[in-house]
C-alpha cells in the first residue's frame, strides 16, 4: 500500500519535472493600454482600434500579413489559390486544430464565418470590403479541410483581405468567444480592462516544438489619457505604447532611448481640403475659389510642410505628396514629390487665376478679400498647431485664415450633413495596404469623397477619370497593371489637389526593456504583431 502511494507520488513528480521546461516558457503578463472600450467583441463587426486590438490577439485567421515583410503567410490555411479572374479563392486548411473551447476547426467554420460576414444586414466594414459587385458569394465546402469561395465580381487583393477575417466556430455554444488565436477573452470590466488568457488549444508551436504563445496573459487597461499612459509606462506598469505622440516620444527618448522606437513614416496622412459641395451654404465666389485648381495648387505651394514636420511633429513626420505613404512599398508612387514651399509660385498661380494682392490682402476678380476658416477636431494638439502654421503661411500671401475646432460629432455633422464649413483639416488612417480600401474616398459617388461627396455624375472631368481608373484597378488582377492605374490616380490627385496632403506622421512606439521578441513596425499593430513570440524577462522595466 505504502509502496503504491510512493510510486504514485514519484510518477507525479516525474510528470511535473517533464512538464516544467514547457511551462517555464509561458511567461508572465503583458500589459498595455487601449484608448477606449472595445465597441464589440464580435470580430466581424470590428470598426474601432480597441476592438481591432482584441481581434488581433484572439482571432485566428486563414492567412496573416507579415507586418515586417508586408507579405502574406499561411496560418490556419496551409495553402491558398486565387483564380486568374480574381473572383474565386480556394483554401486548404490546417488539420487537427481546435478552438479555445476544444471544438474542432474545419471548412464548415470558414463557411459559417464567411456567410455571417457577407450577410447584407450585418453592415460590416470588413464584409463591405469583399463586396465588389451585386450578388452573394458562392461558398463550397469541398472537403473537411477544403473550401472554395466565389465572389460575384473580381475582388482586388482578395487574399490579403483574409488577414482580418477571424474564423468563428459554427458549432461552439460560446459563439465568438470560442477563438483560434493565441489568447482568449477571460474578463472584461468596462472602463477598466480587458483580460486575455493564453489559449490552451492554440495550434502554433515554436521551432523547438514548444507551444505558443509564451505569455500567460495580456491585460489591456482602458486608459484614455495619453499623458497618464506615458507615466504608467515609465513606472513599469505597462510595457507597450502604440502610436505615441511626438512630444511624448522625445521625452521618453531623452530618458530611455532603448525603449523608444521610430519606425519611420506611417501609413497615415494628414491633409486639408476645401468644401466643393454644391449643397454647401457658402457664397458662390467662395465655392468658385475652392473649385479652382490654381487656387488649391497655390494654397498647397504656400504651406511649408518641412517646417510643419519639424515644429509640430518634432521631426517625426515627413512631407506628404499623396495618399500613399512611402511605407506602403508596393503602392507608393515614387515619382511624386511633395509640393515644395514656394510662396512666390503660389502668388503667380493666383494671379493667373485672376486674384490680386492689394495692400497685403489677396482679393479675387470680384474684389472679395480672400479669407476662409479651417475646421478641425478639438483636443488634437498636433492638428491645432498645424492649423496655426497654415494660418501663418497663408497670411504671408495675403489670405486670412481663421481656425475653428469642433468636437468630433459636430465636425462629422458639418462634413456629412450640413456641409457648413469652408476647409477641413483631418487625418486619414489607412488600415489596409490595398487602394481598394479607399474606393469610397476616390469614387465621386462615394460618401467619403469628402470635398464633394455622393455625386450622381462626376462634377469634373478629372474626377470622372479617377472613377474610371479606380474601377479599372479594382477589376484587374495583375498587380503591376493595378499599380499603373493607381499610380495615375495619385498623379491626378497631386495635380488637382482635392486633398492637400501635408505630412505622414512617423510610427512611434515604446517597448519596455523587459519585453523580448517585439519588433516595432509601421503597420498596425505596431508593437505586438508578433505577440505569440513575445516574452517578459525579469529585468525591471521602470526607470
Amino acid at each position: 500500500m505504502i509502496r503504491a502511494a510512493r510510486l504514485r507520488v514519484a510518477c507525479a513528480l516525474s510528470v511535473l519535472c517533464l512538464l516544467a521546461p514547457l511551462r517555464s516558457f509561458a511567461q508572465g503578463e503583458l500589459r498595455f493600454c487601449l484608448h477606449a472600450d472595445p465597441k464589440t467583441f464580435n470580430p466581424l463587426m470590428v470598426d474601432d482600434d480597441a476592438s481591432e486590438a482584441v481581434r488581433y490577439l484572439t482571432g485566428g485567421t486563414l492567412v496573416r500579413l507579415n507586418r515586417r515583410s508586408q507579405q502574406l503567410e499561411p496560418e490556419l490555411a496551409t495553402r491558398w489559390k486565387t483564380s486568374s479572374d480574381g473572383r474565386r479563392i480556394e483554401f486548404t486548411l490546417r488539420e487537427a486544430v481546435r478552438f479555445s473551447d476544444g471544438s474542432p476547426f474545419g471548412a464548415e467554420d470558414v463557411a459559417f464565418t464567411m456567410r455571417s460576414l457577407m450577410d447584407p444586414a450585418l453592415h460590416s466594414p470588413l464584409g463591405d470590403s469583399f463586396r465588389s459587385g451585386p450578388g452573394e458569394p458562392q461558398i463550397e465546402v469541398t472537403g473537411s479541410n477544403h473550401i472554395a469561395i466565389t465572389f460575384p465580381a473580381p475582388v482586388a487583393g482578395l487574399d490579403k483581405l483574409f488577414d482580418e477575417v477571424a474564423i468563428l466556430s459554427a458549432q461552439s455554444p460560446l459563439k465568438e468567444r470560442a477563438v483560434l488565436g493565441p489568447f482568449v477573452l477571460a474578463d472584461y470590466k468596462p472602463g477598466l480592462f480587458v483580460y486575455l488568457k493564453r489559449n490552451p488549444n492554440y495550434w502554433k508551436k515554436d521551432s523547438a516544438g514548444r507551444p505558443l504563445p509564451y505569455l500567460d496573459s495580456v491585460r489591456l487597461d482602458v486608459q484614455q489619457n495619453r499623458e497618464i499612459e506615458l507615466t504608467r509606462f515609465r513606472r513599469g506598469e505597462i510595457q507597450l505604447i502604440n502610436a505615441i505622440d511626438g512630444e511624448y516620444f522625445d521625452r521618453l527618448q531623452a530618458q530611455s532611448p532603448a525603449e523608444a522606437f521610430d519606425a519611420g513614416p506611417s501609413f497615415d496622412s494628414e491633409e486639408m481640403w476645401f468644401n466643393q459641395s454644391p449643397s454647401a451654404p457658402l457664397p458662390s465666389w467662395k465655392l468658385g475659389w475652392f473649385r479652382s485648381t490654381e487656387f488649391r495648387q497655390a494654397i498647397s505651394s504656400a504651406i511649408n510642410r518641412q517646417d510643419m514636420s519639424r515644429l509640430v511633429f518634432n521631426n517625426h513626420a515627413s512631407p506628404a505628396a499623396g495618399p500613399v505613404s512611402p511605407a506602403n512599398r508596393f503602392w507608393f508612387n515614387s515619382r511624386l514629390k511633395p509640393h515644395s514651399y514656394d510662396p512666390a509660385a503660389a502668388l503667380r498661380l493666383l494671379r493667373q487665376a485672376g486674384f490680386r494682392v492689394d495692400a497685403g490682402v489677396l482679393h479675387d476678380s470680384g474684389g472679395h478679400a480672400v479669407e476662409f476658416s479651417i475646421v478641425t477636431n478639438s483636443g488634437n494638439k498636433a492638428r491645432e498647431r498645424m492649423a496655426a502654421m497654415i494660418q501663418q503661411d497663408l497670411g504671408a500671401i495675403g489670405i486670412k485664415v481663421s481656425i475653428v475646432t469642433l468636437d468630433f460629432p459636430s465636425l462629422i455633422e458639418r462634413m456629412t450633413r450640413s456641409f457648413n464649413y469652408e476647409a477641413c483639416l483631418l487625418g486619414l488612417v489607412n488600415t489596409g495596404l490595398d487602394p481598394n480600401a479607399q474606393m469610397n474616398v476616390w469614387l465621386s459617388s462615394g460618401e467619403n469623397h469628402q470635398w464633394n461627396p455622393a455625386q450622381k455624375t462626376p462634377a469634373t472631368p478629372w474626377e470622372g477619370e479617377i472613377d474610371r481608373l479606380m474601377r479599372a484597378q479594382a477589376s484587374a488582377t495583375d498587380p503591376s497593371r493595378r499599380k499603373q492605374f493607381f499610380d495615375r490616380v495619385q498623379e491626378i490627385a497631386w495635380e488637382q489637389q482635392p486633398f492637400i496632403y501635408l505630412v505622414h506622421k512617423n510610427a512611434l512606439s515604446a517597448v519596455a526593456r523587459n519585453v523580448q521578441g517585439a519588433d516595432p513596425v509601421v503597420l498596425s499593430p505596431q508593437t505586438y504583431w508578433q505577440i505569440e513570440r513575445m516574452k517578459i524577462s525579469n529585468e525591471r522595466a521602470a526607470n
Partner: protein
C-alpha cells in the same frame, strides 16, 4: 404618531413626489438638449472608407431613430417601467448594466472623498474656533482659498501626478467649500451670548465646542452635508475623467461625447435624483432636529 412625526412624514411624501416630477422633467430637458446638440445622430464609423453607401445609409437610419425626442422619451419611460433603460450607443451594452458596473467606483470615490473632506474641514474648523488666533485662521483660510481657486479638473490632474486616487481629488475639491461654510457657522455659534456665558462659568473649551457649539450648529451642518453630496457628485464628473476612474462621471463624459441619448438621459436622471434626495434628506434631518422651525 406625534404631530412632529406626521409633519415630517407629510413633508417627506410631498418632497418625494416633487422629486419624481423634477427627475422626469430633468430627463426630458436632458433629452431635448442632447437631441438638439450639434452632431446628434452622427457616428465616427461614417468616415470608414471601407463601408459601402448602403451600410452608411443603414448606419445613419439607425442613428436617426431617436430624432423625435418626445417619441424617444415616451419609449424610454415605457422601458423603465419594465426595468429596461435601453441600450447605450457608445457602449453596446444595456444601460442598467453599465450603471451597475460603474456605480460602485463613483460611490467609493464620493464616499471616501466626502469622509476625507468632512474630517479635515471639521478638524480645522474646531481647531481654528478653539484657538481663536488670527494666525490659524489665516493659514487655514489661505489653504482653502488656494484650493478653491483651482478647478476640479486641475485638482484631478495634480492627484494623478501625485499618484493619489480620485477620492483624494474629490476631497481636495470639497474641503475648501466645506471648511469655509463650517467655519462661519461654528464661529457664529461660538460668539453667541449663551456660549460666552457657559465659558464664563468655567466650562472647558473642548466641552463647549463638542457638546454645545457643534449641537447648535448641527442643523446647518446637516444642510451642508446634503449639499456636499451634490457638490461631491459634481466634482466626481471631471475628476473621474481626468483620473480615468471608471465611474458614473467618466460614463457621463463618454456619453456626452458620443451624443448617447438614452445613456445621457439616465445619467441626468441619476444626478437629479441624487441632488434632490441629498437636499431632501438634509431638510428632513433639519426638521427633525429643529421641529419648532419646521
Amino acid at each position: 404618531m406625534s404631530v412632529v412625526a406626521q409633519r415630517i412624514l407629510r413633508a417627506a411624501c410631498i418632497r418625494l413626489l416633487a422629486a419624481a416630477a423634477v427627475v422626469l422633467l430633468a430627463g426630458l430637458a436632458g433629452a431635448t438638449l442632447v437631441r438638439f446638440a450639434p452632431g446628434f445622430g452622427t457616428d465616427e464609423r461614417e468616415l470608414d472608407s471601407r463601408l459601402s453607401s448602403e451600410s452608411i445609409s443603414a448606419l445613419r437610419a439607425h442613428n436617426a431613430r431617436d430624432a423625435n425626442v418626445l417619441v424617444f422619451y415616451a419609449r424610454y419611460l415605457g422601458g423603465i417601467t419594465h426595468g429596461d433603460f435601453g441600450m447605450s450607443r457608445t457602449f453596446p451594452q444595456p444601460i442598467s448594466q453599465l450603471v451597475k458596473e460603474r456605480a460602485p467606483a463613483t460611490i467609493r470615490n464620493i464616499g471616501y472623498g466626502l469622509a476625507m473632506a468632512w474630517s479635515l474641514a471639521l478638524a480645522l474648523t474646531l481647531t481654528a474656533t478653539a484657538a481663536q488666533k488670527p494666525a490659524a485662521d489665516i493659514v487655514f483660510s489661505a489653504a482653502a482659498g488656494a484650493l478653491i481657486s483651482l478647478p476640479a479638473t486641475v485638482i484631478g490632474l495634480l492627484a494623478v501626478i501625485a499618484r493619489k486616487p480620485a477620492s483624494f481629488a474629490i476631497a481636495a475639491a470639497l474641503f475648501p467649500l466645506l471648511y469655509r461654510y463650517a467655519r462661519n457657522v461654528v464661529q457664529s455659534e461660538w460668539e453667541r451670548p449663551w456660549i460666552m456665558a457657559a465659558r464664563a462659568r468655567g466650562i472647558g473649551k473642548a466641552r463647549t465646542l463638542l457638546r454645545h457649539v457643534l449641537c447648535a450648529s448641527a442643523p446647518q451642518l446637516l444642510a451642508l452635508a446634503g449639499v456636499s453630496l451634490n457638490m461631491a457628485f459634481g466634482a466626481a464628473l471631471p475628476v473621474e475623467v481626468i483620473a480615468d476612474s471608471p465611474g458614473i462621471g467618466q460614463l457621463a463624459w463618454q456619453a456626452a461625447l458620443g451624443r448617447d441619448l438614452p445613456l445621457l438621459v439616465t445619467v441626468t436622471g441619476i444626478v437629479a435624483a441624487i441632488t434632490l434626495l441629498g437636499n431632501a434628506a438634509a431638510t428632513l434631518a433639519q426638521q427633525a432636529l429643529q421641529p419648532e422651525q419646521a
